[in-house]
Subunit: 319 residues, 2 copies
């Protein structure tokens, strides 16, 4: 009998749900706008409703093994989201406990497993993607923030308190730009979708470089318009990708020095920029590597479909 | 029956040998001057002679479990020393293979296990020191260079090619000082014994800060004289420790973001400076930590006697 699970990807913008079979086929998908919620209880009630909708859509409710959730600042050990800078919900959110209780009340006593969203993507890559036979790798997700999953000897590194794998919050420019986390110079404040927007606004304000981006209202400047400008050879847009790549390269090279991966998989919105990002990234990455790692580590785009990887990774947690 | 092993600490100056029992008692110690040898075969023959001497000194030859070696740039997977900048032997030295063959020829078919010297210190801390029940920790060694051993779930992280754990060669100041490795702004170029000397010379050259260090010839400025000046309240010397601490703190905070340890153990020459280093280090470390790790991670000086830690760590490898 085919077994099922429900995978949930909580992002700053959307929360995506998938009913998934053990083979990695997504049977049904749902989505919810995370950013519209400011009270975590109202949000988690809505999440629970979506879960129940999918349970009832499944061919056999009794074959659902559990719920897997990938979330920013998700803590695997506690089942909580803690101090996520890109969510409206501040402090420590008891996601696992809250949803398990609501589901139980509704007659579905299913277990919820939660992990960091990038860890979920790494698990997805390991089970369904390009990391099937790779024992040591990094998964870097370039979305609203910069997430990462660190895999050593075939296992996600959770560390002492479940928060390992925050390459996005390693400091690469101590006298640099303020990050949403309150410190200066984190990878995330440069190399995320929000980071590249900050870079564009800074370059518009502080340089004379000609750019079609100058003709846009500030709220229209973002990953997509910077990409479009870059594709037309816009100097300022290309400079944005250069800075994004340089900071990410240092963060990745530092993570390599600590964990010595075989490959690094890149995933998420910014990777759609293709060579605009990847060409300077590969150059700066090699430059930034400690000598024993040079020309050894493969940078790859994720094999997984972006929309589904996080759901698949999360769905793999209960199996 | 008590079991034994032979631990060897290969350093640029000396090679120290210890016959050790499983309880961590050193039965007999030997030493060899590494720096007097320029041919690795002659050197390794001498090392083998010392091993055989210790085997014959042991209460029962059959109870010797093996030989453990900690060495700079030691590769655990290959049993080699690779491109160690502080040794006379250049290139890739097949230490394990060579010694095992010589021992076999002499009728002692013992297994040799080799690892990076900082990993050996981490293992020593885990088995005989303050990390006995600690599953996730970092060992940072502050000597001529900055070494580190990363322990996740009770195991040393070797990574794909055996070179994981190079916190000393993570970049914390991309526009900073040149490092011996050829890149800029590594932790090691600031926070090692050679790093603090570079800082002192820079401050002497580039600032007007009064200092008793200005009265010393350049070759006398080093870890010891900077420490002595600092203990007398010398402003420039205190500034040296401040910079050393700040750069190390960022490197450690970045390693924390990636591996989420419970504790960090510090070890080696610079730690003898006590509060001159530890007070600013603790301050900058907390400042540099990503919010989820703040006030959680204990910084500790190693429990092990500095002279024996490397031998004990190496000796623990065969057990």
């Amino acid at each position: 009998m085919e077994k099922y699970s429900i995978g949930i990807d909580i992002g700053g913008t959307n929360t995506d749900f998938g009913l998934v079979d053990k083979g990695g086929n997504i049977i049904e998908i749902l989505s919810l706008s995370t950013k519209d919620y400011f009270d975590y209880e109202i949000y988690l009630n809505e999440v629970t409703k979506n879960i129940i909708y999918l349970i009832e859509k499944s061919p056999n409710k009794d074959l659902i093994q559990g719920i897997g959730i990938g979330a920013p600042n998700g803590n695997y050990y506690n089942g909580t989201i803690e101090h996520a800078p890109n969510l409206n919900f501040k402090g420590i959110i008891p996601v696992k406990e809250y949803i398990e209780n609501r589901l139980s009340e509704k007659g579905f006593p299913l277990k919820v497993t939660l992990t960091n969203d990038a860890n979920a993507a790494a698990i997805g890559e390991m089970i369904y993607g390009g990391a099937k036979n790779v024992k040591n790798f990094l998964m870097i997700t370039l979305g609203t923030g910069v997430g990462s999953g660190v895999v050593v000897d075939g296992k996600i590194v959770y560390g002492h308190d479940g928060f390992a794998g925050e390459v996005g919050h390693t400091i690469v420019q101590p006298v640099g730009r303020l990050c949403g986390c309150g410190r200066k110079g984190c990878v995330e404040t440069y190399s995320s979708v929000t980071g590249i927007k900050k870079t564009a606004l800074e370059l518009i304000r502080e340089t004379c470089t000609n750019s079609i981006l100058r003709t846009l209202p500030e709220e229209e400047i973002g990953g997509k318009t910077i990409y479009q400008a870059g594709m037309q050879g816009d100097e300022l847009a290309i400079k944005c990708f250069d800075i994004t790549a340089k900071m990410l390269a240092i963060g990745m090279a530092n993570a390599v020095a600590i964990t010595s991966p075989e490959k690094i998989f890149l995933f998420g919105g910014l990777t759609k920029s293709g060579d605009l990002l990847m060409t300077p990234l590969k150059k700066y990455f090699e430059e930034s590597l400690f000598v024993v790692f040079k020309n050894k580590i493969e940078l790859k785009l994720s094999d997984l479909d972006e929309n589904n990887a996080a759901i698949l990774g999360a769905a793999a947690l209960p199996f």
